[in-house]
Structure formats: C-alpha cells, structure tokens
Symmetry: C2
Subunit: 360 residues, 2 copies
C-alpha cells in the first residue's frame, strides 16, 4: 500500500470518469471481483487474498447504475471528510449518503449494508483502506506497555495511564510511534485477563505490550497490531480461550478472512502466534476439572476450521482440533485463576514464553 495522498486518489477517480464522459464513453470503473469465487489462500504469504478476476461497474447499465451511484456518493463523502480533516463512522456515512435521488422517490441507499459495500469497493478502487479514507469502524479495547506515541498533538505514554490504559481509537493510521521499548505483544480477547496482567505489571516485568479487545478484533486493533509488527518487528502472541472461537480469533488475525481479503496486506498478520490455551496446557497445568462441555455449534465450528486451507495441512493444528473433540470440552483462560490469583502472570505466561511454546 503506497502512501499517496488519499485526496489525490479520489480526484484521479473523478477525473478518469470525466475523461470517459468527454470521449462519449459509458463511464466505467474496473476493480478486483469481490466474491467468494475470487478469494484464494496465498500459501506463500500465508494470507487470504483476492484472485485475478476483475469486475466492471458502468453507469449506463440497468444492473450497475445504482451501485455506480453509491460508489461515487461514498467517494464524495470521503473526499469531503478528507478536505475538512474529519472522520466518520460507517453508520454516519450511511446517513450521509441516504438521500433521495433528485427527481425520483428512490434513495441512494436504504440499508447500511449498501453503503458498507460501496465503501469496501472504494477501498479496492483506490487501494486505500477505509481508515485512510477517513471512515472508521468500531472503537474498542485497551493497551499498556513501554511505548510512547504521538496522536492528534498529544504525547501519550502507554506506561503511565493508571489502571485503565489507553483506549484504542477506531482509527490508528495517524499515530506516530516515538519510542517502542518492548520485545513482544500479547493480544488477548478478554478485558478481564488484560486487567489481571495489567494489575500484575506484567508488561513492565517482562518488557512487552498488552492489548485487548472484547471478543472479535476490531479493525483499529488489527491495524495497531499490524503496525507494531511491521514497523517495529514485534512478535504478536495471541491469548484466547481453548475453544473454537478462540482459535477463530487467531485464525482471522493471522490469515485474514473472506470479508477482509481485499485488504489482506494491511490487515492480516502472518507473524501472529497462538500462545494458549492449548490442549497441552490442559495436561501441563492440570485443568481438566474446569472443562466446559462442547455444544453442537462448537463441534460444527471445529469441523469448519479443520477444513480451512491454512489448517488442513498443519499437523499440530489438526492435533489440537482432534484433542478438543476427544475431550468433548473447551476451557477458558480464566480457569488458570483456580491455580492462584496471579498464576497466569507469575507462572503460566513466563513458562510458555520462555519455552517459546506457541502454535504457528
């Protein structure tokens, strides 16, 4: 992804269309086909990305006209946002483009899914992800560690923010890292586990950065992790429950997903490793007592995951899936609390990290 000025990209898009019109052509935009049939697993780079198929979107085409208009409308909103130096959420953009087409009773969009898709198309057309186009996804999560950043004129030291930490914004593109003194990043799905590690000053004792969302990883967090690993060469260790959903969080973070395939290079993190909880941890730390029975939905998720291209040929992942099935059970990170309040900080994590006991 080049660092061209987003405005320029959008202006080029507009100028190109004007030129086509001046030449008496049917205004047409061409970009990669975004559909399941064009999503491929790139074995070399270990990420899900779009294949070579392209699609065209023309104004004088009954099947395209509305989508063509939607695409240009979100481009216009993005251009305005960039011009005035403001950002908007996906929901905001929906309301901004939801206006009636003059001389008709039709709205440009009726549902947010339409503007969302138009924005994803615009990402592809401009080769700029939506955050660069000043359109934000959800805000979620917290971070702490020996890192100093600059953001909107403020200098922020992630090690001096009390028990709360820094609240991760939806858009981390304009953050500047001033000082990053850490050896690795632990990313965890649960805020409560983050609070445990933070209270124990784990990041200080072990010279790392701790990041949490709550449940699925937001794009803001994904981009933050991606920047920490690509710009500062930090390994990313994922700490999640021993269940199909914990594995899935890791899978999306590392390999990407179908819906992210068009932005794989900026969002997937091939460097991520799964720290735990693993089937082997269950034995090593004597945690069977805290098993929770798998439900039907867990079994089917597990089967889906085992069939993924990137897991299918991985012996160690297939072994994990099989062991979970054999156990008939899943296990939460917080089961470690049964071993002692600070067991996770004092024993579990230091041991696992020292032995480099990760799944890749």
């Amino acid at each position: 992804m080049k660092e061209e000025k987003p405005q320029k990209k959008l202006e080029e898009l507009g100028k190109d269309l004007v030129q086509q019109i001046d030449k008496g052509k049917n205004p047409t935009i061409e970009f990669s086909l975004r559909s399941l049939s064009n999503v491929v697993y790139d074995k070399k780079d270990q990420i899900l990305r779009l294949g070579e198929k392209v699609q065209e979107r023309s104004f004088f085409n009954v099947g395209h006209a509305k989508k063509f208009l939607q695409t240009l409308e979100v481009a216009k909103v993005s251009k305005t946002l960039l011009d005035v130096g403001k950002h908007a959420s996906l929901r905001d953009v929906f309301y901004m483009v939801k206006r009636t087409i003059p001389g008709s009773s039709a709205n440009i969009v009726d549902e947010q899914v339409e503007s969302d898709k138009a924005i994803e198309d615009l990402e592809l057309i401009t080769d700029l992800f939506r955050e660069k186009l000043h359109i934000n996804a959800n805000k979620m999560g917290s971070v702490a560690g020996n890192v100093t950043i600059e953001d909107t004129g403020d200098t922020i030291n992630w090690s001096k923010l009390g028990s709360g930490g820094w609240s991760i914004p939806s858009n981390v593109e304009s953050i500047k890292f001033r000082s990053v003194k850490a050896k690795y990043v632990i990313y965890m799905e649960k805020q409560a586990v983050w609070e445990r590690l933070h209270e124990d000053k784990f990041w200080d004792k072990h010279n790392c950065i701790i990041v949490t969302s709550q449940g699925q990883t937001t794009r803001g967090i994904r981009r933050l992790l991606e920047r920490l690993t690509s710009e500062h060469k930090l390994p990313i260790y994922v700490l999640a429950d021993f269940d199909p959903w914990g594995f899935y969080i890791y899978s999306v973070l590392k390999f990407g997903s179908i819906s992210l395939a068009h932005m794989a290079d900026s969002l997937a993190i091939p460097e991520a490793k799964f720290l735990g909880i693993t089937a082997d941890d269950v034995e090593s730390y004597d945690l069977r007592k805290h098993f929770i029975k798998l439900k039907e939905v867990d079994y089917s998720r597990l089967k889906q995951m085992a069939d993924y291209d990137w897991f299918r040929n991985s012996k160690h992942w297939q072994r994990q899936f099989k062991l979970m099935k054999d156990f008939g059970s899943k296990l939460e990170i917080q089961a470690l609390s049964s071993k002692g309040i600070t067991f996770i900080s004092d024993k579990y994590l230091p041991e696992k990290i020292k032995k480099a006991d990760f799944l890749d």
Copy 2:
C-alpha cells in the same frame, strides 16, 4: 456507604460467626431479602431500593447450607484479594471458589451464577459494593475532558490522550480526582458518537466531560458518573437513541434496577437527565426521513417502561412513549449526521444544552 476498611468488615463477619459457634448456636447470617417482593421504588429519593424484609442464612439448615458455604467462600476470596492488594473479575472468583468440598464429590459452586449471587449477598452483608471487595465487573468505555486524576501512582490528564482517550477500568474506587474543570458530563451509549464529539473537541469548546460505554452501562462507568456527580456536583446528561433501549439505559442509570436495588445509593444517579434524542427533536431537526420501524419487541418494551413506577406518573415521559408509538418508529442519534458531519457538535448539542431542553 461508610468508608470502613473492607478487611475489617470481613473480619467482623468471621468473628461474629465464631462467637455464635462458641455459644453453641447455629451459625446464622442475617441480611436484607434480595427478591422482587422486597424491591420498592423510593419516591422521595427517586431510586429503586430494597424494602424492610430480611432473610436469614444458617449453616445447619438443609436448604441453606450450600449457600452459607458459598457466601463464606467468596468472603474468603475477597479477604485474600484485599490482603494481597489484588483484584479479580467475577469469572475469576467463580474459578477460585469452584473447588470440591473435601470428603465429598460436590463442588462449592458449579455455575458462575452461584458465585455471582454469593458476591451480591456479601455486598449486602458487608454494606460494601463488590468493587470495594476487590471484585470487578466488566471493563468498557472511554472518557475525555479537562480532568486530571491519580490512579495506581500515575497522574493522568484526560485532555491529553490523543484520539483514544482514557480507557475506563472496571473499578474506579481508588481513583483520586486532582482537578475537575468541567460544567457537566455527557454520557452516550455509542463509541462512534463519542469519537465524533472528541474529534470536534466538543469537551474543550464547551468545558465538559464526555463518557461512553458501548450499549449497557458497566458498573465501572456507573460508579465513575456517580462519583463525578456526587463529589463534583456535575450534572449528567444522557445521549442515547430515540428507542425503548435508549430510554432504558437512562432509566437504569437514573433510577437503578431490580438487580442493583441492594446497592442503589452508590449506583443510581437521580441527577441524570435525558438530553436526547427525543420525539420533539424529530420535529425540530426534521429527522422523520430517518425513522426506523418499531418491531414487536420494541412495542412490548415500550409498554413495560410506561408502566414503571417512576415513569407512570410522569406526563412528559408518557408523552414521549405515546409519540414513539404514534410514530411507529424509532430514530438513531447518528441520523443527525445526515445534517452534516459536525451537526451534532456545532448545532444540536449546543442548542439543546443552552435551552436546558432535557427530560427529567
């Protein structure tokens, strides 16, 4: 709620039971009955609180023995947490007390709901809310404004934290407010709206504090708002969608709820006012175009709410409920974005606040 040392309270509980045993009595704890039949709406203070009924819990009583044990077990965990100066989440505490009773095959607790209830009982018995007992609920939300606090040895200025803001911890009891330069607090349910106001530096221009969670208000945020209003006399304005759920967020924040009735004085915020979106805003700001049809579940929620003791005799709230029903529609805050990127910051909020156009 007195500021007695939590350890002392727990020790007193233990000593009292030992004395009962020494006297050959059946060890018994007495505390307010926590059940729907004992939740009353206190008209004078405008909060939901527990009535005068009490319950006893005895060791030598087949129906009580397990709950008695659970109560003492969470008291022990809390005492340990306090002694070592650590905190734990509700889920952690569940795993800590989930052990097998020696000489039996029974666990002290099998489901988290059991330890959660024991913790709520302990809150009542000790007259200390769980955060003071070092047991935390969920962490969620962000804050910005001209406020400086001290927390776990750090001095944190909420006006210097870039685009992210301060991440609100699950437990705000030990925060010290060093400087609070603000006239009021706006609490909003949506992070995206918070990011809008934050980017527009609304809190700086209007000298206020902006707080968000995502969806329902966590106890950490509730306590933060309660402390800002009780210790610093700041009015709390609630900014939520014009829908039954937006109203409900306000209702719980201001009047409390059945499950919070035992801690009403520290958690309910009678000073809170509803800023918007109101039925009148729909007309004043010409927002009908963005109506979303009410569903069956919305209608029934609306009816429930209209029947609440605290809304039943309120003419202006009954009018809001009726108008929503007449509209057959709800409306999101973000519909204001259709009027312009910064419409909410430049026009909507300043106008409403200047006119003190709130629902109480």
